[in-house]
Symmetry: C2
Subunit: 80 residues, 2 copies
Amino acid sequence: MITARITVTLKNGVLDPQGKAIEGGLSALGFSGIGSVRQGKIFDVELDAKDDNTALGELNAMCAKLLANTVIEDYHVEIL
Amino acid sequence: MITARITVTLKNGVLDPQGKAIEGGLSALGFSGIGSVRQGKIFDVELDAKDDNTALGELNAMCAKLLANTVIEDYHVEIL
């Protein structure tokens, strides 16, 4: 069983209202000096594959088809 | 300006319906051999702090107060 972590983040320049809301929340709680907050997602996937390369291929296909919206998001796959 | 990545994941044993839905979605798309999928969140934070240790303290406080629900979630702070 291969364990991988997929990280999906918004591309630079794409507005992140959730991140902005968190920035506001942190300021309201008294945290100062915050430049920016951007939110992203991770997916910890366990899968059966004969080797790491096959797994990477599968995982990249999963990102392209379902896990990431490649118009506005970047993704990164890492085998753990 | 210090850049940090905060990773928030569900603790082991906590049900992850979103992850289960993604598992189902991937199977429906023809991906086989998936053991499990668990979803988490990341926050990329830029903040002004005099050194890394001060920043780590601030970031841990942010997690405890707002970013993570420590009853069901674990968090990890990493200075980039």
